[in-house]
Amino acid sequence: MPSDTLEAGSEIRELSYAEAVREALGQAMEADERVFLFGEDVGVYGGAFGVSGDLVHRFGKERVIDTPISELGIAGAAVGAAITGMRPVLEIQFSDFVTLAMEQLVNQAAKIRFMFGGKASVPMVVRLPGGSGTGAAAQHSQSLEAWFAHVPGLKVLQPSTPHDAKGMLLAAIDDPNPVLIFEHKLLYKTKGHVPAEAYRVPIGKAAIRREGTDVTIVGSSIMARKAEAVAERLASDGISAEVIDLRSIRPIDFTTIAESVRKTHRLLVVYEGVKTMGIGAEISAMIAESEVFDFLDAPIIRLGGADAPIPYNPVLEKAAVPQEDDIVAAASNLVRRGEA
């Protein structure tokens, strides 16, 4: 039932990440009239990153709603709409602004189903453009996904490809619980094959992007893409890296990571969020606590964001988050048995 402005002739086309998200939104709104969008500038302007595009023209201002600049208001309205049976999809213009919506997301959306014994549910989706690399400085460049992964009752996704961006968004809209999707701003223009039909990518299942035997590199979002690129370079250096794209950090696919580490005996976790108390700590601890501990042949290594606000200076901005060279160096050290 392809029915939007994108070419629909072939089964699989090349779309950008932003186009894939838009296609998912359009297909969901077509299939289910309870689905509606709202957020700052998602309507006439087409979204700060152009994701909603022409959707306001196709579905009208009643279903693609420009809101006032109040993240708490947007989130509260979404929680209320979801409880009363709607399927709201909201956009937090920059994920950094989600701090203003914490009460509704953490204290309300995440807990209502549990506090009402399952009699109420909150089927809402929050899209959050995040990450650094656009020269937007400390208040517009953060990677805050780990904050929400700490909250029982929320699901947190980080698709890295156009294919997953579409399939996971559709799965999130189907889900009866609140789901947050962190979209890396640098990924919006990246392209990939995307099937035309509406399909779902299951939430909580990691993808093995490349098989290898010497070291497991785990990442999500843009770091999964970097790890995949780096694996080529490592291969030319004689190191066989297995790359796992988490896709979902809550729930997390521990089984896939564990099976990989059992095979490679070495684990490198790469993430853009601040390294301290981050996702890497959780994954490292899960492995260290598990029976896979006995299969480790080297310390688990984390590569994460610097313990500092993201700088405006473009050189420092790059230095503050793991780059491909950093991943190559860390993986090489790990396999060559140096102290990484």
Binding site: H265, F293, D294, F295, L296, D297, A298, R337, G338, E339
Partner: protein, 411 residues
């Protein structure tokens, strides 16, 4: 956290070291910079200082056993930690020579992963420990090649491949008759010096094609000269000159005119040394050491006698540095004082030649148609045929004879 004391790398190419003496014992208070042990390496003994101030605990390296560089040998507990952390059971540091210990037949229990006191020893990855458990292997016998001697999967697998296969089927083998088995005796691992001597001399015999020229040289004039020099040295307060020093003095003088004997093979080239540095083979506690008379050609007999005495004392007191114990360009080995008539020596690599000196003995020789008794000594030059030819070596020996029989000419 207690501070680790590791076996340091104090010499280039050093992979293992032997603790000769501990200056501290369990529980002693040390200050940063205090000498805590002495390490025997490339023929010298170096003092190792405490990296921190506190109490020494868990000394786990025995003296006299080669230990891999980087292995923790003790811990220093800082003030306050000492009381809280009782002394742990001492565990022997893994001897490098995997020596005699055959793997135990029963799998050891899982090694304790000590919490705050992971100090207790052995570094091994979880996977290495797992494989060791499965194979009933004691990790103490495995040499770790990872950071700080950490044992990894590859180390354990290498060890398992190399260890002798224990026959699990005794009935298939006849019991060995006692007569057929070699005497058990005592198995003593090489000292640090012994290992270096063994490896260097094996290398020398393998790579340098040796040939030997022997000359019997009359020592009347040399003896007379030594007698006169002794009186002079006594007057000026220099040590009594020895035959070995006189030979070194003569050799240094004539080596100037025989540069190919004062040379080394380097790949496919000959390195002619500008300076003449003569090593004198000596014995210390059963070990062979070779202190070097640096720039020997520049010294007269009193100077060389003083330097020789200094080296000999320093060697006995173990105060010589590695630099004073290596890097010669030519070596003299004199076993005459032990009654040896003559012998052939192995070249001290990378040098090109070594002179072996036998005892001086009155022998009947023909002089002017008469058989007379003269003090005679055998000198044997071992040369590396890659860089020295027979005639070049023979010319050197001819001049050595000339000089020793008429030493005034040179001195």
């Amino acid at each position: 956290m207690p501070i680790e004391v590791i076996l340091p790398k104090v010499d280039m190419d050093m992979e293992t070291g032997t603790i000769e003496t501990w200056h501290v014992k369990e529980g002693d208070q040390v200050r940063q910079g205090d000498t805590i042990f002495e390490i025997g390496t490339n023929k010298a003994v170096m003092e190792v200082e405490a990296p921190a101030t506190g109490a020494i605990r868990n000394i786990k390296a025995e003296t006299g056993v080669p230990i891999a560089v980087g292995t923790p040998v003790a811990w220093i507990y800082l003030d306050g930690e000492a009381a809280a952390a009782p002394s742990e059971p001492t565990a022997a540091a893994a001897p490098v020579a995997a020596a005699a210990s055959l793997p135990p037949t029963e799998a050891p229990l899982s090694p304790a992963i000590a919490g705050p006191s992971a100090a207790s020893g052995l570094r091994a990855t979880p996977l290495a420990r797992r494989i060791a458990r499965q194979n009933g292997l004691d990790l103490k016998a495995v040499t770790g090649t990872g950071p700080r001697g950490r044992i990894g999967e590859a180390d354990v697998k290498r060890h398992l491949e190399q260890r002798p296969r224990c026959s699990p089927a005794p009935e298939a083998r006849p019991a060995p008759t006692p007569a057929a088995s070699p005497s058990e005796g005592r198995l003593q691992p090489f000292s640090a010096i012994r290992r270096i001597v063994a490896s260097r001399l094996s290398e020398s015999m393998r790579t340098a094609p040796h040939f030997y020229l022997t000359s019997e040289i009359e020592m009347s004039a040399a003896r007379e000269l030594l007698r006169r020099l002794a009186a002079r040295h006594e007057r000026i307060g220099a040590p009594k000159p020895s035959l070995t020093v006189l030979i070194a003095r003569v050799a240094a003088r004539i080596l100037r005119d025989h540069p190919v004997i004062n040379a080394s093979a380097e790949g496919e080239a000959t390195r002619f040394h500008e300076r003449i540095d003569i090593g004198i083979a000596m014995e210390r506690d059963g070990d062979l050491v070779v202190p070097v008379l640096r720039d020997a050609a520049s010294m007269d007999m009193p100077a060389m006698s003083r330097e020789f005495a200094r080296l000999r004392d320093g060697m006995a007191k173990r105060t010589l540095t590695p630099a004073e114990l290596g890097g010669g360009t030519f070596t003299i080995s004199n076993l005459g004082m032990y009654g040896v008539d003559s012998f052939t020596a192995i070249i001290n690599p990378p040098q090109g030649a070594i002179l072996a000196v036998g005892r001086t003995l009155d022998k009947p020789v023909g002089r002017e148609g008469q058989i007379v008794l003269r003090p005679m000594a055998n000198f044997t030059l071992s040369s590396d045929h890659r860089i020295v030819d027979g005639v070049a070596a023979a010319r050197f020996m001819a001049e050595l004879r000339e000089a020793l029989e008429n030493p005034e000419v040179l001195l």
